[in-house]
């Protein structure tokens, strides 16, 4: 049976979010993604001809703040959550394919 989301798409999406997945997992997700998408595709049956696209679900607009600086969080607090740090910086692995 052909899936709405094939394994190729699953692998591409996995690459975009930098997740390594096996061929077997790609097969599994292909089936799962497809059934989710197929379920949502039911929405396409609704006539939305004269309905403008929604960009917000709370019906709020213009929630703005004044341009005023407020104290930031402490660096120590922040770095506690970082897997690795050095001299106050967050330390990360070299990015492949970067300059």
């Amino acid at each position: 049976m052909t899936q709405t989301i094939d394994t190729k798409t699953v692998k591409h999406v996995a690459f975009l979010v930098r997740l390594g997945i096996s061929e077997e997992e790609a097969q599994t997700f292909s089936g799962q993604f497809s059934s989710i998408i197929d379920y949502f595709n039911m929405l396409n049956e609704v006539d939305t001809e004269n309905v403008p696209p929604a960009s917000d679900i709370a019906n709020a607009e213009n929630v703005l703040r004044e341009d005023v600086v407020k104290p930031s969080m402490s660096r120590e607090e922040f770095l506690k959550n970082a897997p690795n740090s050095e001299r106050g910086y967050v330390k990360v692995p070299t990015v492949l394919g970067d300059e």
Binding site: R75, Y89, G97
Partner: protein, 481 residues
């Protein structure tokens, strides 16, 4: 076959706000004492943090849109641009996609041959800057002080056909941002960055061929050099019967070549979707008009006024209006001075700028009051002092301040205008140098400057040069055998 380039520019400029785009952390990462000192859960992408739009940033963005002759979208929305990179804490950048704050503008630019053309501005949208990455040998260090700083992206249509026009467009956008006070234009600090989309096609054709996108253009020089390089590279490919590959290129400033960044190509799939954490901006006509009323006189309009009001040439006017502070300074001097505006332009474009350039100063550093400069220029105009004495006084004013009249007195620089006194000096020089007089009268006309030099030396440059010249010509004529 002759080819022409088709160029579109994307300009990224940070907005000069106090706080960041979606949180209340200081946006002034340049003066942050330490890395990761201006941060909070929002700009470091901690779970559950909610962004709130900076009101000032929307005003500045609209101001830029209006200055670029755009229409403002009364209903505009935020979107997530998803990509995975360590300088992007949330895994997406909040940006505007389908409905940017401003679109469909234009800017008049010069194509390098005094021809004006309109470059259409496709859109102006709000987004947030990324963190700064410092690359070490086997790892990278991340500083989030810049993450979340308001950033404006100004995208042109591919209407540019020469590198000169691209440079002029970028220069004009920078000048407008500085006029509006929304960006310092300080490229060395990275507050303004360019990207160029380039393709080439046979002259006369209206097709759009495959384009490449050059990133990391952090100076006007890089913009020009990278564009020239890329245009030549593509023409060469076509001439050899090849095809240009659509790709993202980096610009290597040191080697002056574009380099392929193909590894990122697949990542160019941003999966934009509406930002669920931010409601749309709904802008009223009244709000838009109140922003429009804040628009200052922009460089183009100021240039036109300087030409018509002050009788300046287009290039003189463009020089003075290149910076708002310079234009204001000039107008203040004109207002305080009795001298013609043209004369004031000559002083400012000449000695004044020379001093600034030699001292590595900018117009913003000048403490010399416009009325003081006006006084000095008037003393030269009414021949109280000579032009060279004027330069001496100007240097003194720049270095130590003071009053021009006082400096003239102290340094004994009053111009010698007494015809009899000058005649006496000229006669003595002619009598003392019979050999040079004979040579001159025998046809060695270049000696005239030497004679004038003698006058300048004897009088320490104080003799009225026109009187001295006239008397010298007459004296030499009389001694013709």
């Amino acid at each position: 076959m002759k080819y022409e380039p088709v160029i579109g520019l994307e300009i990224h400029g940070e907005l000069l706000t106090n706080s960041k785009m979606f949180c209340s952390c200081s946006a002034d990462y340049g003066s942050a004492p330490e890395p990761n000192s201006n941060i909070c859960p929002v700009c470091t992408g901690l779970p559950g943090a909610m962004p709130v739009v900076n009101k000032k940033a929307t005003e500045l963005a609209a101001l830029v849109g209006l200055a670029l002759n755009c229409s403002i979208n009364k209903h505009n929305t935020f979107a997530r641009k998803n990509y995975y990179y360590p300088d992007l804490p949330k895994g997406y950048q909040i940006s505007q996609y389908e409905l940017p704050i401003a679109e469909k503008g234009f800017l008049e630019v010069n194509d390098g041959s005094e021809n004006q053309l309109n470059v259409r501005v496709r859109r102006v949208h709000i987004e947030e800057d990324t963190a700064k990455l410092a690359h070490e040998k086997n790892y990278a260090l991340v500083d989030f002080n810049r993450a979340g700083v308001p950033l404006l992206e100004i995208v042109s249509e591919p209407d540019i056909r020469t590198v000169e026009a691209a440079l002029d467009y970028a220069t004009k956008v920078r000048a407008i941002l500085r006029y509006l006070g929304v960006n310092s234009g300080d490229m060395e600090k990275g507050v303004l960055r360019f990207e160029a989309n380039i393709s080439v096609r046979p002259v006369g054709s209206d097709e759009f061929r495959t384009r490449t996108e050059i990133k990391n253009l952090n100076s006007f020089r890089a913009l020009v050099r990278a564009s020239q390089y890329e245009i030549e590279r593509q023409i060469k490919i076509y001439e050899e019967g090849g095809t240009v590959v659509q790709e993202t290129l980096g610009w290597d400033d040191a080697r002056e070549v574009t380099t392929s960044q193909r590894s990122k190509e697949e990542a160019h799939d941003y999966r934009y979707f509406p930002e669920p954490d931010l409601p749309p901006l709904q802008l009223s006509d009244a709000w838009i008009e109140s922003i429009r009323s804040q628009l200052p006189e922009l460089p183009e309009a100021k240039t036109a006024r300087f030409i018509s009001d002050f009788g300046l040439t287009p290039s003189e006017a463009r020089f003075l209006t290149s910076e708002r502070t310079l234009a204001d300074y000039f107008e203040n001097v004109v207002a305080k001075s009795k001298s013609p505006a043209k004369t004031i332009h000559s002083w400012i474009a000449g000695e004044f700028m020379r001093y600034l350039n030699d001292s590595g100063l900018s117009i913003d550093d000048v403490t010399l009051a416009p009325e003081t400069l006006a006084k000095l220029i008037d003393m030269v105009t009414d021949k109280t002092i000579g032009a060279s004495a004027g330069k001496t006084v100007l240097t003194e004013l720049f270095k130590n301040g003071g009053d021009p009249a006082q400096i003239v007195k102290e340094k004994n620089l009053l111009q010698m205008t007494d015809v009899n006194a000058i005649q006496e000096i000229v006669t003595k020089i002619l009598n003392d140098n019979p050999k040079e007089v004979d040579e001159y009268n025998a046809g060695k006309e270049t000696l005239f400057q030497w004679f004038m030099g003698q006058v300048a030396r004897t009088t320490k440059g104080k003799a009225d040069p026109n009187v001295a010249k006239e008397l010298m010509v007459k004296g030499l004529e009389e001694r013709k055998k």
